[in-house]
Subunit: 458 residues, 2 copies
């Protein structure tokens, strides 16, 4: 039996930041900037107001900032809430092999912990990168063939806490035995189902991963024991959730190959399997100046996974629209845009979008890549227009540049924090390696800078 728990724990404890390959280190600040923007973009969501009100009932120990809310809570609640905010718009990032959104749970736990004690930039980045690595590898263990697991598992919720525990345990300086316990205590709290995707739990589930991973590390630090075989044992995480699991996928190339290099930052705020279709429709709408009323029919060929996850022809609200292929196709043609403005309830209810949704049909094609689409639009005047996107924007072949990420950050953060604060946070991210106190720097940058809190309109 491969000793997955021990090998991942040793990796998390022993990895030397300076020895990481440069392309891996480069992803640390990029992932963190992308995440901060998503936190701020989600901070005013109605789901955040509900969750804040519930967690504030636990006593409001002002330990860690809830970004964009102008308030501090205990560090476990803050970890949850920041990760939740970053997940609510489905705008975060995606480990393409396993389709998890890895940064949220790890960064949520780390930032909360880094407000409790000064943490230098390199230590913070090391913890972030080992947390993401462990998280993605645990996801691969459940999803890389021959592994099979139920499509109903909300995979970021299932593995997020384990990544967060690895990262938080690294910040706490756990030894290898305690890191093993931390991974097991986190695995013991892993949960989440896709049935809850089109609800406010879309954000709550990953958020709960951030919280549970942080607590797992704190509990292991105090000596709460877990099993040495928590992940790989016959009655452990992998064998219960996957039939069979792929234990080798968790450790193959560990320390030489890095999963963060397969992590993509989203250009559009919705399920990533929708993105190639958005690209194609935006291109067609723009190139041919198509008026929405002129559209007779839209036919899409997509990777089959797109339909498994996002075949939702009639979304009723914003949460359902986030995982509706048809909503975003319609928005691309009606609004010629696919940003946060397109995910408001008002857009979902617009009859102009409903008309296009009803005229859109999609079918799966095994031969297409996950980031590929073929689109054919038939117009009322008889014209037939075709588009083929081989690799969606934001994919590994067409990655978001640093300036793309900066623009994405500003697009989400403006209106939430004062303008001068945005510059400071961007600067902080690009220079994070030289920070002596990441949590303190972030706190000082955002404190008192929240723009007068208006909830996002439903």
């Amino acid at each position: 039996m491969t000793d997955v728990t021990r090998q991942l724990a040793a990796f998390a404890v022993e990895t030397d930041y300076g020895a990481l390959p440069e392309p891996v280190r480069r992803e640390g600040p990029r992932a963190f900037l992308n995440w901060l923007g998503c936190c701020l973009g989600g901070a005013r969501d109605p789901a955040m107001a509900a969750a804040m009100a519930a967690f504030a009932q636990l006593g409001e120990a002002p330990q860690a900032s809830v970004l964009g809310r102008g308030r501090r809570l205990d560090m476990a609640s803050a970890a949850l809430l920041n990760c939740m905010a970053s997940s609510l718009n489905a705008f975060d990032d995606t480990h393409l092999e396993s389709v998890i959104h890895p940064t949220g749970p790890v960064a949520g736990a780390l930032l909360a912990l880094a407000e409790r004690r000064p943490v230098g930039g390199r230590d913070f980045l090391a913890a972030l990168l080992v947390g993401i690595e462990v998280e993605c590898r645990v996801a691969n263990m459940l999803t890389r063939p021959p592994a099979e697991c139920d499509v109903g598992l909300y995979m970021t919720g299932i593995v997020g806490g384990i990544g967060a525990a690895a990262g938080a345990g690294r910040l706490l300086g756990l030894d290898c035995q305690r890191m093993i316990w931390a991974l097991g205590i986190a695995a013991a709290q892993a949960g989440g189902f896709r049935e809850l995707h089109p609800t406010m739990c879309l954000g709550f589930v990953p958020g709960n991963g951030a919280r549970s991973g942080l607590m797992a590390a704190l509990l292991a630090e105090q000596g709460l024991t877990g099993a040495d075989t928590a992940l790989e044992g016959p009655r452990g995480f992998a064998h219960v959730l996957a039939h069979p699991p792929n234990l080798e996928a968790a450790v193959a190339g560990l320390g030489t190959q890095y999963e963060v290099l397969g992590n993509a930052y989203k250009p559009y705020p919705c399920g990533i399997v929708i993105h190639p279709a958005i690209d194609a429709c935006l291109d067609l709408a723009e190139a041919h100046r198509i008026a929405p009323d002129a559209i007779e029919h839209i036919a899409l060929e997509v990777h089959p996974l797109t339909l498994v996850l996002c075949d939702r022809p009639k979304p009723n609200n914003r949460n359902e629209a986030l995982v509706s292929l048809y909503h975003w196709v319609a928005a691309a043609f009606v609004d010629r845009a696919a940003g946060l403005a397109q995910s408001r309830d008002a857009r979902v209810r617009d009859p102009a979008l409903a008309r296009i949704r009803a005229r859109t049909k999609a079918q799966g094609n095994e031969r297409l890549g996950r980031d590929e689409v073929k689109a054919r639009v038939t117009l009322a005047d008889g014209r037939v227009l075709d588009a083929h996107v081989a690799h969606a924007r934001g994919s590994l072949q067409r990655p978001m540049s640093d300036s793309d990420l900066e623009a994405k950050f500003r697009g989400q953060a403006q209106g939430v924090l004062a303008a001068e604060c945005l510059d400071r946070l961007v600067e902080l991210c690009w220079r994070i390696e030289s920070s002596a106190d990441v949590g303190g720097d972030i706190r000082r940058a955002v404190e008192g800078r929240a723009v007068e809190g208006r909830a996002v309109e439903g």
Copy 2:
């Protein structure tokens, strides 16, 4: 599709305490007294010290008592810690059909909430009983044939939060829609694996259920949405965890048949499938005055589930011993007792017990009941002694009486709380229906009454 989530939510919201059958109402105070004793019996466990130290780092808002620790914490942490304490000695209760331990997660959540606002005795008992009912039915949905689910699931962790949410939601007065959300938010946090059974997570996992169920109810109260089909939907709780689930089992006879009537209180602090063997060995040892050294061989026939769960011939520590059939057989012959004293590390390490363990063999017999055993002891002098226990002590056929439960409570609580406090708590439980403020009454009974805190020896 059976609307399981809605039906269970409606049951939790609408059940009229006064209309519950008398035998059902009778189990409320019994379950609560049994649970309080188990809390106190586990309060000084080393696992509790570790967990207290971690949760106290969240700010120590003194909202709710951690029983037997002389300390209050925020209500979510207190819910977790009290349920954890009650689970750590495997001495609590068992819903015999699903083999979950139902009272802990529900009572943990309710007591914490009842310290935040006055709750009358009948309201408290109603919430306790509907929480237990929902919890057991959700477990039946995963385990009653033709349902099949992985034996590695730590079932109390999987369903405990859902029961706790039903109970806490009832206390909060949630309407049916919010109760539906609460059940879904709790389901989204369900987790736990048997691989962690022989570790301190034995207690942590159910404890986390208490916490997550309480938070689910508080979150739903504030408007955090879950799915109407969280439990039964194609990508929801039941279909992901069981293949197939038994949706009908969740709702058949709801409101007329009560699962709490199939809940048994443990006479021995270990896995319940071990209990018939303990009975047989204690009987043999006593009746024939067998000296441990005189034993040549012990042969047991047990229900196959006993070996699935507790076939652990060489336990290394107390946590492993709690789920070792062989440890308790040995203790019964060497100590002629099977109480908390027998689950200490020192007993596990005793060579006299190791000698008996090594001479014990067990085999599964499909024709035996789960609470049945056949034991044959061969002595060095050639004598062969047989025993057959048809129904173990504590089973539904030989239930623990009220005075058995009171003695069990006192056995666990003495040495943890001052003597006069024990009387007061017992009195409180038997008269709980007339309490105007259950949480306040409990708090006043235990406050400042902890016997000078000495940790239990490992």
